[in-house]
């Protein structure tokens, strides 16, 4: 989380020399060579997150907490996640792998009301953005990289829109700075853990 705070908050005012030191130390945090051994592992990691999101929106949209245009947006977000699950599963099979099963999930109080639904959605979407960017470098097959990048961009769209629906501050809420921040597998799984049974 420290990295994100750094990026969000103070990048513009940090003197070059200090900023550089921080950047160098940040860099090492991403070097986790053993995270994924092949494309199937990256795809199954992505698939687990997409399953989580897909089920989250299925339940959330089913809870009828939203109305009007807002309900329409979230329905579309859910449909996107369903499409990601289908595309990633198929791709894993196409390259000879076995797609992981959908995880058992528990979203706790996320569907108590509109705000809790949207707030949890916002967390998931930003997590997805960081996860894809963090995992992209492990992808060896260009066509899969293209697809992962394409999904990553759509997760960023979701994150921004949900942030706006929540009325969050534009910078740090709707947007997370001038560049997206990659997240390590360890951090992503830690953030997702409370929702996985």
């Amino acid at each position: 989380m420290e990295r994100r705070v750094f990026l969000k908050g103070s990048a513009a005012v940090i003197p070059a020399s200090l900023g550089l030191q921080m950047l160098m130390s940040r860099g090492t945090a991403f070097a986790q060579g053993a995270d994924f051994k092949d494309d199937v592992e990256v795809l199954n990691y992505a698939l687990t997150l997409e399953y989580l999101e897909s089920e989250f929106y299925r339940q959330g949209n089913g809870a009828k907490l939203l109305s009007g245009v807002e309900a329409g947006y979230l329905k579309q977000v859910g449909a996107d996640e369903d499409a990601h699950v289908a595309a990633i599963s198929q791709t894993i099979k196409d390259i000879g792998g076995t797609p992981v099963a959908a995880p058992k999930v528990d979203f706790g109080e996320a569907f108590a009301n509109r705000e809790s639904f949207l707030k949890t959605a916002h967390i998931f979407e930003n997590l997805g953005v960081g996860a894809y960017l963090g995992a992209a470098s492990f992808i060896k097959t260009p066509a899969i990289l293209q697809a992962a990048a394409g999904i990553f961009g759509v997760e960023a769209r979701h994150a921004a829109l949900v942030g706006d629906l929540l009325g969050l501050a534009p910078e740090g809420g709707v947007y997370q700075g001038a560049t997206e921040t990659p997240e390590t597998k360890a951090n992503v799984l830690k953030a997702a853990a409370p929702f996985l049974k």
Binding site: R26, A31, A83, A156, P170, Y175, G177, A178
Partner: protein
Amino acid sequence: MEKERQLFDGEPVIEFQNTKDRRQFLKYAGMVGVGGTLALTGVACTNDKAKNPVSPDRKSDEPSVPQGDIDILNYALTLEFLEADFYKQGVDSGILKGRELDLIKPIADHEAAHVATLSSTITDLGGEPVAKPNFKYPDPTFKNKDDFLKTASTFEELGVKAYHGQVTLIKTPAILGAAASIAGVESRHAAVLAKLLGSNPFPAPVEGTLSMDEVLKAATPFIQS
């Protein structure tokens, strides 16, 4: 490979040869845009023997990335110049108010940051950043909100597809990481502008791509010189 290509219509170009490339990518995916001039300095040194990738006395006269990557960065820079110029005029015009202005001001800042980062990155890699072109916009662009938002939305969707169109053409992992971290932000912009316009913020479950030729053709009407 054949099957995946059919699925995603991608073109195989990049493959990470080793963990060093991967590490480079990860490192820069997160830092481009933060340090301005220094953001991609490390890349220029990947072929050097320098232990310290930001050593000031490194050799900087020999570009260590393929010319094609520099060309792609200059292409991105051209588009970011256009966006930065466009949003600055939009914000200065006074046609935006309230939440709309609040949402668009940071976009202007992001595009300016992208310009600064791409320019310095190209320089650091031994390339020559393109000069800022002169832009022209159809007359009502900055006179009323709707025209402005429509053009903004067009630019953002174009920018997103432009970045995604280069994903498999970029050869240097660090540059790919940097470009991806910018592209994600353009996707956020695109979604916000679509919402402000009342159009679809999620036109597809996966971002589309456009070739350099297609994008430049679309951008040409706005470029004077």
